[in-house]
């Protein structure tokens, strides 16, 4: 039984961070109606920011959140403003050329990082990177537990922001009916820019929190983009609460898969759940949570 609880705990801790990446993607999905296929690459950039701050200036990863998140917010704002929004004005045969643009942006980010840092594996080995503590018979990774706590804090903060502030309401209103939002005085162009910035900042938060426990290399973005994509679909496109459930589900599924089936199955089981949801619950957890 201990093994099971241990697996569950590991899955939940990881799932909390997945949720953070997923919420970023689902926010962008809701407001712009596009999947941001550079989400994992944005996360990768923040990992490198954390790495540089740590190796050059000895800044603790948790402190570098205060730098990585605003930096990625800014990067997201610039991407939306100068690369994605201009595409809306272009007539093309492909309706979703903004999605293609995000793929391109993801590649450019990866290659720029590879150019600067080479393909070598890097790590942010803090004193707590490999530390664990025990509750009963179950071990908790210190880094992941702290990361989970911070992730929960940012998720709640994001939630409160979306529900209780005028700007947050304007983001939701834009996602639901862009034209009606404009009539209510919402500058929807500005909202898309802010949303992409927020989505990127959440990816940055996850990246920085994961930096002490993951090896960092330029191609780490891709797998996280597909994880975020799975979470967004699991949660029901555009649903924030759904993304939280989606993230936890994926985390637990991967953890169960790697414990009981073997490490090789970690990614496969996530994909099986993904396909299962598409077939049996096509609108995702949104159907169940209604938000």
């Amino acid at each position: 039984m201990d093994v099971f609880w241990q697996t569950l705990v590991a899955g939940i801790l990881k799932g909390g961070l997945y949720a953070l990446i997923g919420i970023g993607m689902t926010l962008i999905m809701g407001v712009m109606g596009i999947i941001n296929l550079a989400q994992g690459q944005l996360m990768m950039v923040s990992m490198y920011i954390t790495y540089v701050l740590f190796s050059a200036l000895r800044i603790d990863p948790y402190l570098s959140l205060a730098i990585a998140m605003p930096a990625l917010f800014l990067l997201g704002v610039l991407i939306q403003k100068y690369f994605l929004n201009p595409l809306l004005k272009v007539d093309t045969i492909l309706p979703h050329n903004q999605v293609l643009m995000t793929v391109g942006i993801g590649m450019v980010l990866t290659e720029v990082i590879r150019f600067i840092f080479k393909s070598d594996y890097r790590s942010v080995s803090t004193t707590y990177s490999n530390k664990t503590f025990f509750l009963g018979h179950i071990s908790f990774s210190v880094a992941l537990t702290v990361a989970f706590g911070i992730a929960v804090m940012f998720t709640l903060g994001m939630f409160l922001f979306l529900m209780k502030t005028d700007l947050g309401r304007s983001i939701r209103a834009t996602a639901q009916d862009k034209e009606a939002a404009t009539l209510m005085g919402v500058n929807t162009g500005r909202i898309t820019v802010i949303t992409f910035g927020l989505g990127s900042a959440l990816a940055a938060c996850a990246g920085t929190l994961l930096a002490p426990v993951f090896y960092i290399f330029p191609d780490i973005g891709g797998p996280f983009t597909s994880k975020a994509f799975v979470i967004t679909i699991l949660g029901g496109l555009g649903s924030t609460v759904g993304a939280i459930f989606g993230g936890l589900t994926l985390g637990i599924a991967e953890s169960v898969g790697s414990t009981y089936l073997g490490m090789d199955y970690e990614n496969i089981i996530g994909m099986i759940i993904f396909v299962g949801v598409l077939v049996f619950l096509p609108s995702g957890f949104k159907r169940l949570t209604k938000v």
Binding site: R169, S170, T182
Partner: protein, 234 residues
């Protein structure tokens, strides 16, 4: 107060309004009537900046609305209650109302206006925490009107407020519009429901195929032989 002067409006290459001109004076109730596809909704969308005229001008209290960004127009007191209500269906009734009061002037009086709207529509107070998408058609219309009222309108523009409502509710909506007008809000109404609106407005314009073909006082138009034949079926 509101002056539309010779506007030509296109959807892409397709022209839908030709030289449309009309005027709404302070405290009036003015109606644009016409059949489906005559260009009524297009006219309102152009006033509220969702569409831009290729020719002509729209002036409101000396301000060129056709050159004002769409998201600033509501702050000028020009408020559009759109066709089919267009509520934010996943947000609660109260949040929808709050969305009407984003401008700083409206935000400062948010609580007071909220209470006033709830007084006007007690049903909305009962359902304030319910998602707007779960309201009945009549309640949704009240919510849409309430959302417009939250914006401190000088002129309130309604696009087919009677659409899809039971006859008794239609009367109800028109009563409310009259009441809002008595409170000092100018009304511009777009309707297919010609009989009911002509008897209740001050002045009316008849739109056909994107052109203004007739204008006059509401009661005058009701006795006009063309209107009688084409719209009232007499």
């Amino acid at each position: 107060m509101l002056k539309v002067e010779g506007i030509d409006v296109y959807y892409g290459d397709l022209q839908v309004l030709w030289e449309v001109s009309f005027e709404v004076r302070e405290n009036e109730i003015v109606v644009l009537v016409g059949a489906n596809g005559a260009g009524k909704s297009t006219t309102l969308k152009t006033i509220s900046g969702l569409l831009r005229p290729r020719k002509g001008a729209i002036e409101f209290d000396g301000l060129r609305l056709d050159q004002t960004p769409a998201d600033r127009i509501i702050g000028c007191g020009v408020v559009h209650v759109p066709e089919a209500r267009r509520l934010f269906v996943e947000m609660s009734v109260e949040e929808n109302l709050i969305m009407g009061s984003l401008s700083s002037a409206a935000k400062a009086r948010r609580q007071e206006r909220l209470n006033w709207v709830y007084g006007l529509f007690p049903r909305l107070r009962e359902r304030h925490s319910q998602p707007a998408g779960t309201l009945s058609g009549g309640e949704q219309q009240m919510c849409a009107i309430g959302r417009g009222l939250m914006a401190l309108p000088k002129i309130l523009m309604f696009d087919e407020p009677s659409l899809g409502l039971a006859p008794i509710l239609v009367q109800n909506v028109f009563d409310i519009i009259k009441r809002i007008n008595k409170e000092g809000v100018t009304i511009l109404l777009v309707e297919q429901n010609v009989r009911q609106t002509l008897s209740f407005c001050d002045r009316a314009y008849v739109l056909e195929n994107g052109r203004v073909v007739l204008q006059g006082a509401g009661r005058e138009l009701m006795t006009n032989s063309y209107v009688k034949e084409a719209y009232l079926g007499l």
